[in-house]
């Protein structure tokens, strides 16, 4: 057997499909099947569910309408927390990517958390863009405005969609980790540069806009509380999601490795037998 000049290059690419023998496994009820949950995550998950319900109650019912915006402020209670969580998620991705690259042979766990966090971040930024667009339609009369903040957020979304695509490019887990880590750190540089450029650009073309996108909204006690509740709730939700997702990624990597080992073993057996 010829030896590979580059170690770690996979001999075969593994297509991760569900095992066909799953039907023969004794069916356990969904709740009893082991998975990525632990007692701690179950407690956290319950807490998040309760808080989400509370948020809906406060956001949609108990809190008052805004003096200026009327009831459209209620969208803020989901829009603001989701964008906050998205920014935080991408920051986590950048930090974990930096940690992974900072020393040779760092644990791939850093890479998996980076990937999981980015995935949740993309989800939340997408939600934020949509809810923000709906809010804009109601307050500004338009679904979209090319101001610096919105445009940069859109770029953030596109950039990290690209990041997720790069993670699926194949190759070894270390290759994936290194590529994505560099890309995440490049994004840290690129996003502020884009923001600065767009701000410069838009400041020159101050067309008469219906409303100032940067207008500060005055929130009273219960409204402020609802917003705060939203931020805390979605942050905990993010933590729960990332905990599970990065465990799933660990399992994906493990099963892929095992599949690879088995394939190598089978090939060796063929050669011998």
């Amino acid at each position: 057997m010829t030896s590979d000049s580059v170690s770690d290059r996979p001999l075969i690419s593994i297509d991760l499909a569900l095992p066909t023998d799953l039907d023969t496994v004794t069916p356990a009820s969904a709740a009893n099947r082991p998975g990525t949950g632990t007692a701690a995550t179950r407690r956290l998950g319950t807490l998040v569910a309760v808080m989400l319900t509370a948020l809906a109650a406060f956001g949609l019912v108990f809190s008052a309408e805004d003096v200026v915006q009327g009831s459209t402020v209620r969208i803020m209670y989901v829009h603001v927390p989701t964008i906050w969580v998205a920014y935080m998620a991408f920051l986590v991705t950048a930090v974990c990517s930096g940690a992974y690259l900072s020393r040779r042979n760092r644990s791939l766990a850093w890479d998996r958390v980076a990937g999981a966090s980015a995935e949740v971040g993309v989800l939340f930024v997408a939600i934020s863009l949509v809810t923000g667009s709906l809010w804009g339609r109601l307050t500004w009369g338009t679904y979209w405005v090319w101001d610096a903040r919105l445009t940069t957020t859109l770029f953030l979304f596109i950039t990290y969609v690209g990041y997720l695509a790069v993670r699926r490019l194949g190759g070894t887990q270390r290759q994936r980790a290194r590529r994505s880590a560099v890309l995440a750190l490049l994004a840290v540089l690129e996003i502020p540069l884009v923001h600065f450029s767009v701000e410069l650009w838009r400041s020159l073309h101050q067309e008469a806009s219906v409303a100032n996108p940067n207008a500060r909204v005055e929130l009273d006690g219960l409204m402020l509380f609802s917003l705060f509740l939203g931020v805390v709730t979605f942050t905990l939700f993010y933590v729960w999601l990332v905990l599970h997702r990065q465990r799933v990624l660990a399992l994906e990597d493990t099963v892929a490795d095992r599949g690879l080992d088995e394939a190598i073993r089978d090939r060796r057996n063929e050669a011998v037998g």
Partner: protein, 227 residues
């Protein structure tokens, strides 16, 4: 020493291009066709003249994707890039060499496209100041695009699905170049009433981009192709 290696890499890339003539036979005609298509789509001389700078740089960006992909497919096809690395060549030198080669090709393309805009869209460079601005803009934008193109080209190189991924990765990153170069070129052409002096701050933005990605690319290129 490193500069000599970079120059050798640049000369190699340019010689490959000279032999295959992909730029002159395929990419340049492609970008010219793109310019023609813009005219069909926009169907109005006044509008065309107004947006000519943007169209020029859009055509440059789309053509750049082709050039970068070509540049790396040549390298990875026979493991040439790996061989360079295994031979212990400084990755930063490889980065600068390939970037310079890309810049040379892009600059030629941009000059062609500016000329095309002058002919097809009735744009004009009135006075020496406008010409100077146009030239400096081309230099600055090209430098930035060269660095970014090689950096992201290296990231996607040698991977399945590279072709469709490179545009998605690269185009958002070069948005500052598109914004800066277009505004500066508008000033040079006098499009939309812009004056030449308004263009120079945008050249500043381009310069920042060049410095950032020149530095970062030198550092990041090594780890990227070290696989």
């Amino acid at each position: 020493m490193r500069a000599r290696i970079a120059l050798a890499v640049a000369r190699k890339d340019l010689r490959i291009e000279a032999n295959s003539r992909v730029l002159t036979n395929q990419v340049a005609p492609f970008s010219a066709v793109v310019m023609v298509m813009f005219a069909f789509a926009l169907d109005n001389d006044g509008i065309l003249q107004r947006v000519a700078p943007g169209l020029v740089w859009l055509a440059v960006l789309f053509s750049m994707l082709v050039v970068v992909q070509r540049g790396f497919s040549v390298e990875t096809a026979d493991g040439a890039l790996d061989s360079l690395r295994v031979a212990g060549v400084d990755p930063a030198a490889i980065f600068w060499g390939k970037a310079v080669a890309l810049m040379a090709q892009l600059a030629a393309l941009e000059a062609l496209l500016v000329a095309t805009a002058i002919i097809l869209y009735n744009s004009s460079l009135d006075g020496a100041a406008a010409v100077v601005l146009a030239v400096v803009t081309i230099v600055a934008a090209t430098a930035g695009l060269g660095f970014v193109g090689i950096l992201y080209g290296g990231l996607a190189a040698g991977a399945r699905g590279r072709e469709t991924l490179l545009p998605l990765l690269l185009l958002p990153v070069v948005a500052p170049v598109l914004i800066g170069a277009t505004r500066a070129t508008e000033a040079a052409f006098g499009a939309g009433g812009a004056t030449v002096s308004e263009g120079w701050p945008w050249v500043g933005l381009l310069a920042v981009f060049v410095v950032v990605f020149g530095a970062v690319g030198s550092l990041a290129f090594g780890p990227l192709i070290d696989e």
